[in-house]
Symmetry: C2
Subunit: 210 residues, 2 copies
């Protein structure tokens, strides 16, 4: 039987490189799954139900909230967004480690609904590097860069609630660190209870008189 996977929550400041790290890790290593969110907003051209999102009605979404079927949810611009428990659970049961990119508030809600989830925060090597990366994108006005840095300063106060940090020096190194970190969780005693019990019983059987 394949060992159950983990839910791995990834957060980090805008521009820190979370998405690139996840892409690089999934390119290098098999067995990972992205968590697919549920939303009440309408699909945009090219979006597929069950791939980009699970597109559901407001009634259905509120029913899921009520029944505790969402690991976390939030509403933006009159629409709900949330993480359906069934999808995450199914992937984990198949032995896959499920990746969920989400903000701090969402991560703290995951902590409550699934305490065994692994929470990882990606940090820049320095605030200066983050500013350079944001400016280097060329898509943000200086005003917006400033806003994002101010937001990051606020978010930094919440990093203590995470289990692990990754300092993103290079995408390749960070992807390997994240992979090794996730793999190490598979060695946790609590996740190997049935194997330990199997060995114990086998050893007991040697004690029987022949």
């Amino acid at each position: 039987m394949k060992n159950r996977g983990s839910l791995v929550v990834i957060s980090g400041f805008a521009g820190v490189g979370k998405g690139s790290i996840l892409n690089e890790m999934m390119k290098r290593h098999e067995g990972y799954a992205y968590s697919v969110s549920a939303t009440t907003r309408s699909p945009r051209p090219g979006e597929t139900d069950g791939v980009n999102y699970f597109f559901i009605s407001r009634e259905k979404f509120e029913e899921m909230i009520e029944k505790g079927e969402l690991l976390e949810y939030a509403s933006y611009v009159e629409n709900y967004y949330g993480t359906p428990r069934f999808y995450v659970e199914r992937m984990m049961a198949e032995g896959r480690d499920v990746l969920l990119e989400i903000d701090i508030q969402g991560a703290m809600n995951i902590r409550k609904s699934m305490p065994e989830a692994i929470l990882v925060f990606v940090l820049p090597p320095s605030a200066g590097v983050l500013e350079q990366r944001l400016t280097g994108r060329g898509t943000e006005t200086p005003e917006l860069v400033k806003k994002r840095l101010a937001r990051a300063a606020e978010e930094a106060a919440g990093v203590g609630g995470y289990d692990y940090i990754i300092v993103n020096d290079t995408i390749e190194e960070s992807a390997e660190k994240l992979h090794q970190l996730i793999q190490a969780q598979r060695l946790r005693t609590g996740r190997n209870a049935s194997f330990i019990e199997k060995i114990r019983k086998e050893l007991e059987s040697f004690k029987q008189p022949e």
Copy 2:
């Protein structure tokens, strides 16, 4: 500044390959230190104080017990054996991960005296494999092999008190798993509090009017 290292406690059944895994890991990777024990027994020919053991008097040992200067200790055959806190602390402060091979009772005492220690138990892939390895050594009588397996059956009940297990299929794989596991601990949020605070302050400074 170099990050503080971890104390890594390694236990496992007789014959499971703990020593070989540690040797292989230290051959492949730098930065590890073995914990040196203190003992009241006399040095044997070829043994060096501070390398094989810290050889100390019974009076000194009992003084260390009293002052809480030992992370754990036990007595065998009229002699004391223990783990001096100062040596482990010094290596950790130098940024080295300190390896301590010890039995279950010792490991549980370490858990009390240094709760942040990482406890790893090495298991065989099966009880049959363990029996083969013990028999294959050619140094143990069938009677002694049987005794060791009976002891292992008892010890198996204590594995739940450890943080991680490593199933020793091959020495090379196990050495890599152990290394990655130890390295992942360096990413723990609690061990990076000063770096997180540095980033937070840097980000704050961007908020100041220019």
